[in-house]
Amino acid sequence: MAAGLRGLTAPEAGGAVAATGLALLVGGTLAAVAWAAQGLGGLGPWDWRAVWFTIWQAALSATLSAVCAIPVARALARRRFPGRGILVTLLGAPFILPVIVAIMGLIAVFGRSGAVNDALRLLGLPEVSIYGWQGVILAHVFFNLPLSVRLILQGWQAIPAERFRLAEGLGFGPRDVARHLERPMLRAVLPGVWLAVFLVCLTSFTVALALGGGPRATTVELAIYQAFRFDFDLGRAASLGLIQVVLCVAAMGLARWIAIPAAFGAGLDAAHRPAAPGGWRRGSDALVITAAAGFLIWPMAAVTARGLPRIPALPPEVWEATLRSVVMALISALLALILSLLLALSLARGRLRWIETAGMLPLIASPLVLGTGLFILLRPWVAPQAMALPVTVGVNAIMALPFGLRALIPAARTLHGDYGRLADSLDLRGLARLRLLTVPRLARPLGFAGGLAAALAMGDLGVITLFAADRPTLPLQLFQLMNSYRMDDAAACAVLLMAISFGLFWIFDKGGRLA
């Protein structure tokens, strides 16, 4: 190793060490899982059902999200109205919205005492239940419809304005525009959108934990949790973990043929817009936008209305959990930032290509798989109680890495291309380089990546559930309140959690912009 590091600059060596550590950590936990699994023989029909459910719910969620997103994206692309900018920004919000908060919102609207069932009862129609597979898919569409709309909207705005002008010049009607401009774009964009959503839903845990369960709505991630927590069958948990890894690797394999677009960033305020046809299309566009905005905003508004007044009355343990979660999120974000900056800076020098692969490793290992593996590895030395919080912090930092790298790698490449030689020729090295060049020039992507990492860690309800929870995080506290049917307190908790998650993202991102 030492010989291999000779001839590298300090950031390159740092990046190589970080990437090796990451590869060892992920690889080691996966190896521990594989070893503990001892084959797949321990899996029963119940487990295979979970595998099947995982695949079809992800496929259905992805299809529904992508298909429903098309009319919304088209309407947003060709209409201009007050509040459009805010709405488009809002479409990015579910990315950092804690899953458990969204579930509270969906229960508030679609749950037994929610507005939808009230209306059904009034009409004398049978009630719908949010629990079960339909709830899982509803929640997945809630999260991924906005993401899909943004991605497809980017596709629309990537069609050059000249094409639309040409179409107008040739007297194209809406049908002709659809046939010659829009459908080819959709054919190019939709597979990537579908795959992006499919991947997210494949590792779905929190949604299945809160709304699913039972033989007909258990994902592999949830099955790992159940094997671990309820049966304490580490072997079965590990076998399921292996299957989860295989599923992720297979889906990533699809990504070799289908480019997955970046899920965030990119300005969506192009100056041009496609022709906006009048007539009934005007009305249908308005309807589609209103429906999509309502679907997004209503649950959040419902949970806010219920929870906000209750916040002052929250019990002290909630405030303790809040403080604990904020500290953990900040540590996670800091770890993720240091790791992704090291990796991005050494990648920018362009000599150590394998580092990028190491940075993307977390995509194949889901949080619960990593948690299970770390538990197996650390069990001989550390009590599970003592493991819970550090493991959660570490796993969240690792999970934020791919997003951090996506933001930082292009910026670090630009920085290196523009100022690398000048800095080298002036002997600007080490901490001085970090202080005078790297941090000031990368402040924006650093702020953005740090904000994402902090918000994701703040809202995460994943690996912490594996461990006994005498010191819960805020999302876990919220989940416990839900389970004991203290819904007012749970709603208040949800508002608090949502505010802190968005607040953390905003502070980091703003900090990066001001620097």
């Binding site: 523009d418 100022y419 030689r421 000048l422 080298d424 020729s425 002036l426 002997d427 600007l428 090295r429 901490l431 001085a432 380089r433 202080r435 005078l436 060049l437 000031p440 020039r441």
Partner: protein, 230 residues
């Protein structure tokens, strides 16, 4: 004396060899067709590129393995010679201490060199607030402050208009006199070479030829250079 001792670089289909020396304090233009390896020659001296074979020596000392910042060399690029987020004083001060923890006398030195290039009072401004010519002056002020024995210019003033370029070359000449630096200057403009550099290195056909007198070379160029000059 700056020596290229049996230097050879290969990068895919591109190859450059150099076996030549440049006298101390000489002003040498580097001329040749695009892609012939003029910038490569400078990168070898600047330390941005390691040769496959051969050594580079300055006054007998082998500098082939030194990292760029440790070389007795200052380099000016075609653009990006200043950090846009740092002030003029900071950009110049980097030449004294890369960590910018400057003492009071060092601050005075910075102000002094800025005055010498005609930019007194601009310490607190950022490069974006300056004209192109002023930005070149800031970079030259830093060169003056560092006073390294070798000065490399990779088409440093190519973006400036003719009058401004002549002015910068004159300033460069004064700075080179003051610091007694050896100057290697890549240029596309034979006029620059005649005006500034008594000697010229011709880079052509994968070879950097030893420096010869600029005037006769340009008056009667060999075929490859003739085709390039038009």
């Amino acid at each position: 004396m700056l020596e290229f001792d049996a230097i050879r670089v290969t990068r895919g289909a591109f190859a450059l060899s150099a076996d030549l020396s440049v006298d101390q304090g000489a002003r040498v233009a580097v001329i040749g067709p695009s892609g012939s390896g003029k910038s490569t020659l400078l990168s070898l001296v600047g330390g941005f590129l390691a040769p496959d074979r051969g050594r580079i020596r300055l006054d007998g000392q082998d500098i082939t393995a030194l990292p760029p910042g440790r070389r007795p060399v200052s380099m000016l690029f075609q653009d990006q010679n200043l950090f846009p987020h740092l002030t003029v004083a900071q950009n110049v001060g980097l030449g004294l201490r890369p960590d910018l923890r400057l003492s009071e006398p060092q601050r005075c030195r910075v102000a002094q060199v800025l005055a010498e290039v005609g930019l007194e009072g601009t310490e607190g401004r950022r490069p974006a607030d300056l004209s192109g010519g002023q930005q070149s002056r800031v970079a030259l002020a830093r060169v003056l402050l560092r006073a390294r024995p070798v000065l490399l210019l990779d088409e440093a003033f190519a973006a400036l208009g003719p009058a401004l370029k002549a002015e910068m070359l004159a300033l460069l000449g004064r700075i080179a006199d003051q610091t007694r630096a050896t100057v290697l200057m890549v240029t596309h403009d034979p006029g620059d070479a005649r005006r500034f550099a008594p000697q010229t290195i011709l880079v052509e056909g994968g070879v950097a030829h030893p420096p010869v007198a600029t005037g006769p070379l340009l008056d009667d160029p060999p075929p490859g250079l003739r085709a390039y000059l038009g």
